[in-house]
Symmetry: none
Subunit: 161 residues, 2 copies
DNA sequence: CTAATATGAATGAAGG
DNA sequence: CCTTCATTCATATTAG
């Protein structure tokens, strides 16, 4: 059965190691057609519809569809710019990192001296984010800090539903 | 000035000139810890403090911290929603499944945790299924769809690939 | 088997 | 807060 685009090793488990989605020719054609039809940024409505359509040809998720369109857009634009690259000063254009426009922000939340620290959300992933491996350089300092604030951390809601 | 975040060799002048700030493992750990501790929306006061702490491990600005928390919040909320939706939905089985709320616009983002110890590629599989350009499998369906939307095709993109 | 390329996916930054 | 762009990473595929 054509479960995913990537046929790895359909042996033991039914989980083909969901690596990254591999759009099939048919799916690509559809996506390209839509893109070329003028739909470069399909709204949710359209995205779902497209996903449904693509699903018939192969497993695909809304995220995949959105990612596809997003990447497509970026690539197209970048390609155009790269091609058009000319008469432009290669100067670094200055890297002003001081765009802190944090005027007042909405930092009027959760009172520290109150019991409103009840987070509804909170990822249960601590060592996620990246595949970095502490080098032990200054990890000691981090550890110290962590040991100091280790307390609530009850953000992990294993919502069993 | 440029406040590059990724500073591999502070002495060497061969800085890869990172456009955007790349939080280091230690910084990420601290940020995540704070977030998980209940501080999901630190006020300016706290933001500055955090920045100070992070600065010791690498160049970082208040804006970076603010952005980080902002993105983190959105990501968490999205993940929670996606998780809830996925719990009930057996899913379309396949690649990524991200059902964002997408009110009426578009969706984005897709959190994923990859903690796999991969030794790199190493697949000795030489015979690949290969993807022929439409084998005529279900192209009929695709054609139907294409016939439905074929029109002006305002695609102003010369894709040569 | 290693290198380069293509593309999907993740994250930071900015706009609304 | 939500949406979107831009940059970067990771992996799959193809070439050498």
């Amino acid at each position: 059965m054509d479960q995913e685009g990537a046929s790895q090793s359909p042996s033991t488990s039914t989980e083909p190691v969901r690596s990254r989605w591999s759009p099939k020719p048919e799916q690509i054609l559809i996506l390209e057609s839509i893109f070329n039809s003028g739909i470069v940024n399909p709204p949710k409505d359209e995205t779902v519809r497209i996903r449904k359509m693509l699903e018939k040809f192969g497993a695909v998720g809304d995220a995949n569809v959105f990612y596809w369109f997003q990447n497509r857009r970026s690539r197209s634009r970048r390609r155009q710019r790269q091609l058009q690259a000319a008469t432009a000063a290669p100067a670094t254009s200055g890297g002003a990192e001081d765009h802190q426009h944090m005027t007042a922000m909405t930092m009027h939340q959760y009172p520290y001296s109150n019991s409103e620290i009840d987070l509804g959300f909170g990822s249960c992933s601590n060592s996620s984010s990246a595949n970095y491996f502490l080098n032990g350089t200054s990890s000691s300092q981090v550890s110290s800090f962590l040991l100091g604030l280790s307390s609530s951390s009850g953000g992990c809601e294993s919502n069993g539903m």
